[in-house]
Amino acid sequence: MKFRIKDLKNYISGNIDFNKLANLLTLKSFETVYNKDFLEVDILPNRYPDSSSLVGLAKEIGIILNKKIKEPIIKIKETSKSKNYYLKIIKETDQCFSYFGKIILNIKNQKSPQWLREFVNFYGFNSINFLVDLSNFVMIEYGAPLHLFDLDKIKGNVYVRISKKGEKFLSLDDKVYLLEGKEIVIADDEKILALAGIKGSRTAEVTLETKNILIEAAVFDPYKIYETSRRLGLKTEASFRFERKVSPYLSLKSLNRLCQLIEKNMKAEITKGIFGLQKIENKILDFDFKKIAKLSGIELKIKEFENILKLLSIKIIKKNKDGYYKLKIPLERLDIENEQDLVEEIIRIYGLNNIPEIYEFPKREITASKHIDINFHLKNILISMGINEGYNYNFCSDKDNEYFNLPSEYKAVEVLNPLSENFKYFNFTLIFNLLKSVYLNQFNFNQIKLFQIEKTGYFKNNKVNEEYNLAIIYAFKDPLKILKYLKGVLSYLFEQLGIEILLKEKKNDNIFSVSSEIILKDNLKIGVFGLVSKKILQNYLIDLNVGVIEINLDFLYDKIKLDKKFVIWPTFPTISRDISFLLDEKINFKEISDCIYGLNIKILKEIKLIDVYFPEKTNLKSFTLRLIFAHPERNLREEEVDDLLSKIIHSLLSKFNIVLR
C-alpha cells in the first residue's frame, strides 16, 4: 500500500529521515520502499486490520522511532433527535460480526475541495462528492471501510441478511448481478441497498442532492466477502479490506470520525445514538518472560522487555517476580492472540537481526530416505551409459489415458480443475512424457537417449497410490539397433543392481509393435520393454523410431543390492570356443542353455549368446554361442575342450535339429 509522505506528516511530528525509516520499517515491520513523495509498504496480511491506514502506519512508525504520534481527537456534537425515529436496523445473520450505524441530517453535500480530490485520487478512488470522498478519506485514515446510504431513499427498515436465490442486485455502476442465496446483503423493506462489504447499489446512492444519510460501519465474515467477491468478479477496496479482517474497534472509531468531519465541513445535524452499539473488550494474555529467550535465543533484560511493551501500548496488568505477566492487548491488534504472537512483537521491535547464531546438535540419528538414495544411484548408472536425464510435468492427457489401458483394478487420478486438456491426469506412466521429450528434441538431434525417474500415481481400492517409475527411451532410425541397445542397457542395469530378470514376449499391446514384459525370478512383473508402434509415434508427431523401457521401482527397492561381494578370477587360463548354428526361430536361448548345462560339464563356466540374426525368407534364426571353460586346479588341454565341444554339439543336434554353420 502507498502512503503519501505529506499525509503521514500530519500524524507524526518532527523531522524524519524517510530513507532511514523505510529501512527500519523493512527490518522491523513491513518491507518498505521510499519513493520521494510516498512510502510503498507491503503490509503483512495479519497486520492489515491495524496497520493499513495512515493512523495505523503512523503508530507503527511511532513505535520503531520511539516518537509520539498525533492521533485526531474525535469529539462529536449530537442533537437531541433520536436515531430510532427514522428507522430500525435488523441484523439477521451471524456472518455480519458487528453493524454500527449513525444517522446525519440536513447536510449540504457538494463537490469535494481540491485537497480531498487529490487525496482520494492518490489512494485509488475517483472523486464522487464531498460525502463519499470523506468516507473514503476516513477508510484510508483508520483502515475500516464505511458505507453511506441516502436516508430518504430507504423504504422502511434496514436488514442485514442473506440474499434470496434469484434475487437481483443493481450495482452503482449499473451492472445487474444475479444472487445465489449465499451473499450477505443490506436491504430495506423492498430492495437490496448494498452487496455487504463489497459495493453499494443505485437504490440508495448518495448524490449531490442527498440531504440525510445513514452511515454504516460494519464488520463482515472475511470468507463470505472473499467468496462473493470472487464469484461475482467484483473486487473493491472495501472487499479487499474485509477479506483481511477489519477491527470492530476501528470500525466504530471511523464512524465517529466521519460524523465529526461531516459536521465540521458541512454543518450537519448528527442524531443521537449509535445503532448496534456493543462493548468491545481488550484481550488479556498470560505471558512468561522466559519464553523470549526460549523461542528466539535473545537474552533480554526485564527493563528492555517492559520498555518494548510500553512502545507497543501493551499494558502490564499483573506481574510476579518469576517473570509471569498478565498483559492487556490494544483493541486494534487482532493478530496478537497468544504467547508466541507476543514473542514475535517483542523480538521484531528489539531487532530480529540480534538473534544469535547457534549450532544445534541433532538430538537423534539422521538418515536419508532409501528411495531417494537408490534413485541417485540408478541415475549414476544410467548416465554412465550415456543416457541423459529428462524432466517433465507430472500430468498427461485424455489421449494418453486412452492409449495406456490401465489394468481394471486401477484408476487414473483425474484433476478436478485441470489447467489444460494436456494436464488432465496425474502420470501413471512416464512413457508419454518421454515421447513428448523426443518430439521436443528431434529437430536438433538424430538420436535421443533419455531417462526419467519420477512419481506416478493411480487409485487402487479407492486409495491414491504413489510409486516411483523409471523409464528409458531411445529414439533412432534403425529399430533393430534400438532394441539391441535397450536390451544391453537392461542387462547392464540389472547386473549392476544384482537382480536377475527374464523377458517374456507380449502380444497385441496398444502402444508397442514388439514388446516383452520384464519379470523377476518369482514371476513378478516389474516392467515392460518394447518398440513403440507407428500409430502412437504418428500421434506424437515423432519421425524417428522409438524404444522404451519402463520399470516400477517400488518392486525393486528392497531387492537392490548396492554392496557387492568380491569374486576371485580363475587361477588358470580359460579356454573359449564359439559355435554358430541355425535353428527353429521359436526355440529360445534358455532352452538351448538349459540343454547344455544339462550335460553337467563341470569345467563349463559360462554360455554367452553373442549374436542373433534372422536369415531372410526362412523360419530359422542363427545363434552364435561362446562357451567358456576353466579348471580350478590346472591348465586345460585344447584336446579335452574340443572333445567336450563335440559332445555339446551332438546333444544340440539331436535335441533341436540345429544346422551348424
Binding site: 503483512l44 536425464e389 478436478l416
Partner: protein, 339 residues
C-alpha cells in the same frame, strides 16, 4: 646330424635378423617366427622324441643353449629399439566423448541432500498427492482461506465421497505427517515438486520446486534456525553469505520471518538482481505454530521447533543465470547437456 645343423642355421639367421630390427612391429614378427607358439624352436622337443638318450643329451644341450641365446637376442633388440616418432597435433579435437548428464534439477537435489545431511537433517520422501488436512487444516490455514479454492489449488477429482485430495501446494504439508510418523526430537527436510493453479510465464510455472525443513525438540529455536539457513546458503552458493531477517507472515509459524541473503552478485552494493537493495529474498521461516504441533499430537508446552521453506527453482536460476523457468523445467537436450 641334421637337427644340429638346423639349429645352428636358425641361430645364425636369427642373430642376423635381430641386428637390423627397426621397430616394434618388426620385432614382434621376429618373436613370433623364432619364439612363438608355432615356431620351430618351441616345437623342437617333439622332434627329438625318438633319438637315443646320448643324442638327446647332446642335441638337447645345444637346443637349450640356442633358445636361451635367441631369447637374449630378443631382449637386446627390444632394448635397442628407439622411441618411435608419433605425429600428433594437439589441436586435434580428440574423440567425442558421449556421457549422459543428470538434469540440473537432480544435481541440485543431490547437492541439497548432501548439505543437509552435513548440517544434520534427515532427508525424507513425501507424497505429491496429499489430503486437504495435510496441506491446509493441520497447518492452521483456515477453512475459509483463499488458497483452498479452485483458483489456486489443483484438486483431485474424488472417486468416492471421502476426504478431499489435492496436488500439494507446498512442501510444508509434510510437517505434521512426519512428526506423527517419526516422533520428536526430529530434524528433517523434504523437497520436490509442488503444484498450483497458475498460468505459466518466464518466472512462474504450475509445477515448481520447494524445500521444507523442520526441527522439533525441547529447545530448538530461532538462533538454531539462523545457523542452519546461513550455513545452507553458504554451502549452496559456495560463498560467504550474510543473512538478514525480517518479519514475515505464514499461518503455520509464529514468530514468522522472511530470510534475505546478501546479494551474491554485487556483494550488497546494489545491482539489477537485488533491485539495488543489496539483498535477495530467499526463504520463509519461523517457530512452528503451536496449532501445528497440536495437530501432530505433540505437547506444545514441552516441545517447540522451527521450520523453514524455500523455492528451489529460483535458487537454481540465480546460481546458474537461467532466466526462464520453462527451460529449467524441460527435457531440452541443448539445456541438459550444458550442466
Amino acid at each position: 646330424m641334421r637337427l644340429i645343423e638346423d639349429l645352428k642355421k636358425i641361430f645364425q639367421e636369427a642373430e642376423n635378423k635381430f641386428q637390423y630390427v627397426k621397430n616394434d612391429k618388426e620385432l614382434e614378427e621376429l618373436r613370433i617366427k623364432y619364439l612363438g607358439r608355432k615356431s620351430y624352436l618351441v616345437n623342437f622337443p617333439s622332434l627329438i622324441k625318438n633319438l637315443s638318450l646320448e643324442e638327446k643329451k647332446e642335441v638337447g644341450k645345444l637346443y637349450n643353449d640356442i633358445k636361451k641365446r635367441i631369447e637374449e637376442l630378443y631382449k637386446q633388440a627390444k632394448n635397442l629399439i628407439k622411441e618411435e616418432e608419433i605425429k600428433f597435433d594437439f589441436d586435434d579435437p580428440g574423440e567425442e566423448i558421449e556421457q549422459g548428464r543428470k538434469h540440473l534439477i537432480s544435481q541440485t537435489f543431490e547437492k541439497v541432500s548432501k548439505i543437509f545431511l552435513e548440517i544434520g537433517f534427515s532427508i525424507v520422501d513425501f507424497n505429491q498427492i496429499v489430503s486437504e488436512k495435510e496441506n491446509f487444516d493441520y497447518l492452521n490455514i483456515p477453512v475459509n482461506h483463499p488458497a483452498r479454492d479452485l483458483w489456486d489449488t489443483l484438486w483431485v477429482k474424488n472417486i468416492k465421497n471421502e476426504e478431499r485430495y489435492l496436488f500439494r501446494t507446498h512442501t510444508s504439508c509434510f510437517q505434521v505427517p512426519i512428526i506423527k510418523k517419526i516422533g520428536v526430537p526430529l530434524r528433517a527436510i523434504v523437497y520436490g515438486k509442488v503444484f498450483r493453479y497458475e498460468a505459466t510465464d518466464r518466472t512462474h510455472d504450475f509445477e515448481f520446486l520447494q524445500l521444507d525443513g523442520i526441527s522439533v525438540s525441547e529447545d530448538s529455536n530461532l538462533a538454531h534456525l539462523k545457523y542452519v539457513t546461513r550455513r545452507f546458503f553458504q554451502l549452496f552458493f559456495d560463498k560467504e553469505i550474510s543473512i538478514r531477517l525480517r518479519p514475515g507472515y505464514f499461518p503455520f509459524v509464529e514468530p514468522g520471518l522472511e530470510i534475505d541473503i546478501g546479494c551474491i552478485f554485487c556483494n550488497q552494493k546494489g545491482c539489477q538482481v537485488c533491485k539495488k537493495s543489496g539483498f535477495i529474498e530467499v526463504a520463509g521461516a519461523g517457530m512452528i505454530h503451536s496449532f501445528v504441533l497440536k495437530s501432530a499430537g505433540i505437547d506444545f508446552k514441552k516441545y517447540q521447533g522451527y521450520a523453514f521453506g524455500f523455492g528451489l527453482d529460483r535458487l537454481i536460476m540465480l546460481k546458474h543465470g537461467i532466466n526462464d523457468i520453462r527451460i529449467l523445467h524441460s527435457s531440452d537436450l541443448r539445456f541438459i547437456k550444458q550442466f
